[in-house]
């Protein structure tokens, strides 16, 4: 069976089995993910119901659902050992659930599931309940190939997050990063949660700075494939692309939101400046024009402003250029080394890597108006922040456990954890836009 066939079946079943729209129900108060004092919501996810001989499937699917939701940092997963009701007794449709049994163990939300396996096909019913109101909030039924069971669960989790936060979440996003596990730095791509790592480049040369186009179809990066730092622009699915190989450096590409054009640092005129280029690498115009280093462009979500690093004031600092008026203002004033800006998809904040007095590097966020620089990391050297597409999380690299690895945390610096366990060192994570498969 081809992959597209699988997809069609999957989508058809999705469409035809969309069940119980929750619109008639009074909505639970939205989780305000911009609230830094966010309390984690206690959620119970009892083992999914399965045919008696498939207990391992039950374990695998319900655990995967727990891990996926846990990743967001919004939930407190309740220990299954404390549950008062045995999984076999739970009515997954909710009509006879004694919700008091669940509020008693502290659950505010609960997910029930059932899984049917027939040869290579799998069918899943998943529901989210508000245990206090005794109401179902989200209910979905999925049918497809058994190999797609993780996609089904992620799809359901996306619905849960969308219901609770009003934003699409991150479960259909990916993270590109650099790893030197093969002996050279090359670009790899994994799912948002670090699963399914695949090598993307085979240049046998230093390869750095991956950047996703906002439709998720193109990846630009810098590589020494031809002996010097050139920018390669590659389609992720089709075997085609473009090269920017001017004299000097061609580095730190960054796509303009919603457009097939990008900003990048070039030095062919003898000075490191940021240029606006078409997706094919043709120069549109120069975006900075100041003697000294100008590098690391980062676009605001509306594409009207560009943060970048400049040493025009003597030390590397984040500046913001207003594309319409052409005016430039300095954003960071604390410390003597602030680089690698990344603009939150919500537009309100910029994350960056700052050298502190101790000489260590930490991830900080700052309002785009310069308000309240906040340090989010504490140990090791922490670099290359990159926001998740919904702005709820930040991926970054850290040496806190020795070698450089990729970590993630919430936008407020909570729930910091390692994303991957791979050979070699990993750097330069870049979170994709949503809807990449």
């Amino acid at each position: 069976m081809t992959k597209s066939c699988v997809k069609i079946i999957f989508l058809i079943t999705l469409l035809s089995f969309l069940i119980w729209p929750p619109s008639g129900l009074a909505k639970r108060d939205r989780v305000v993910i911009s609230d830094p004092s966010l309390q984690k919501i206690p959620i119970a996810i009892p083992l999914f119901k399965v045919q008696p001989h498939l207990m391992d499937v039950s374990m695998k699917t319900s655990d995967f659902c727990s891990e996926t939701l846990d990743f967001t940092g919004y939930f407190k997963l309740l220990d299954r050992g404390s549950f008062l009701a045995a999984p076999r007794e739970i009515d997954i449709t909710g009509s006879t659930i004694n919700f008091k049994n669940w509020t008693a163990v502290g659950a505010e939300l609960m997910i029930t599931g059932s899984v049917q396996v027939n040869n290579d096909l799998i069918e899943m019913e998943l529901r989210l309940f508000d245990t206090f109101k005794g109401q179902m909030l989200v209910g979905k039924k999925y049918k497809g190939w058994i190999t797609d069971h993780q996609r089904m669960i992620r799809r359901f989790c996306s619905e849960v997050i969308y219901y609770l936060t009003g934003s699409q979440g991150i479960f259909d996003s990916k993270i590109a990063f650099v790893s030197n596990g093969s002996g050279n730095k090359e670009i790899y791509i994994c799912d948002f949660d670090g699963q399914n790592t695949k090598r993307f480049t085979h240049n046998n040369a230093i390869t750095l700075f991956p950047a996703w186009s906002s439709n998720g179809k193109w990846l630009a990066y810098t590589s020494y494939k031809k002996g010097k730092p050139d920018i390669y622009i590659r389609h992720l699915k089709e075997n085609r692309g473009f090269v920017i190989n001017r004299k000097g450096i061609n580095s730190t590409p960054e796509w303009v939101p919603g457009k097939f054009s990008l900003a990048a640092t070039l030095s062919y005129e003898g000075d490191q400046e940021i240029y606006l280029l078409t997706g094919k690498g043709k120069k549109i115009k120069k975006l900075t024009n100041k003697w000294g280093i100008d590098t690391s462009p980062a676009w605001s979500p509306d594409g009207r402003k560009m943060a970048f690093v400049s040493n025009r004031s003597g030390t590397p600092q984040i500046h913001v250029k207003h594309i319409g008026s052409g005016s430039v203002e300095r954003l960071t004033f604390q410390g003597r080394y602030n680089t690698q800006p990344s603009w939150s998809p919500k537009g309100d904040k910029i994350a960056y890597s700052a050298r502190g007095k101790s000489g260590r590097y930490n991830i900080c966020t700052i309002g785009f108006d310069g308000g309240g620089p906040t340090r989010l990391t504490r140990t090791g050297d922490n670099e290359s922040p990159s926001w998740s597409p919904d702005g709820s999380m930040i991926a970054f690299s850290s040496t806190r456990q020795g070698a450089s690895r990729i970590y993630v945390m919430t936008a407020y610096g909570t729930d910091q954890r390692r994303l991957l366990a791979l050979r070699g060192e990993q750097t330069n994570p870049k979170w994709s836009p949503g809807g990449v498969d």
């Binding site: 450096i249 730190t252 590098t295 040493n311 004031s313 590397p316 080394y337 750097t427």
Partner: protein, 208 residues
């Protein structure tokens, strides 16, 4: 007899040498190197603020340094010639080529400015390149591992360009030099300490 020959040679060679350096000294553009200090604000001010007497003083100092280097070179060449080692010229060229490649030009932290040591090293490079007019070089700009790799990519480029510009000012044609920044990606010393960092902040020369 030998002493006399030496004296005559020294006089014959040194006097035109002195004239040459003196005429060069005016071209010796100190503010040009200040241009490559990492503080861009000083770029315009550097040339205007350096007083004429300051320039003269620097030029004089420069001429003296150049002169002593030149005399040393002539002395060595003479010794070689008199010792009858001219047959080994091929080997000497190879040795000097290796020496040329192995001597790196070092920079201080987060800076592409050329210190006096760096300038001396570059003068030796210039001299070697004058003597080997058919050789083209690649100047690699490198950084230590501290700082972020995106910024270091630009800083390495600046260091290589800074070395190149200095050599252009010493009369080496641009066409003989290509720069490549390696940022922090290719350290000479893999350790994580001050002395390793100092040796990794460098411009490295490779002959093409």
């Amino acid at each position: 007899m030998r002493e006399k020959l030496c004296m005559i040679l020294a006089v014959v060679l040194v006097i035109p040498g002195l004239m040459f350096t003196a005429s060069c000294a005016k071209k010796e553009i100190r503010p040009e190197s200040a241009m490559y200090q990492d503080k861009p604000r000083t770029r315009q001010s550097a040339s205007s603020m350096t007083t004429t007497s300051e320039k003269d003083r620097l030029a004089r100092e420069q001429a003296l340094i150049d002169e002593s280097a030149r005399q040393e070179k002539f002395r060595r060449e003479e010794e070689g010639r008199l010792a009858g080692v001219s047959e080994r010229t091929g080997a000497d060229t190879r040795i000097s080529q290796r020496a040329f490649m192995s001597e790196d030009v070092y920079f201080s932290y987060d800076s592409a400015a050329l210190s006096s040591n760096a300038q001396d090293a570059l003068r030796r490079k210039a001299e070697w390149m004058q003597n080997h007019p058919n050789v083209s070089v690649i100047i690699e700009g490198h950084c230590d591992e501290r700082g972020t790799n995106a910024y270091n990519m630009a800083l390495g480029d600046r260091r290589a360009e800074s070395a190149k510009a200095f050599l252009v000012n010493l009369g080496i044609p641009r066409s003989r030099m290509t720069t490549i920044s390696y940022g922090e990606e290719s350290p000479a010393v893999p350790s994580h300490n001050e002395s390793a960092w100092a040796r990794n902040r460098r411009a490295h020369f490779v002959t093409e």
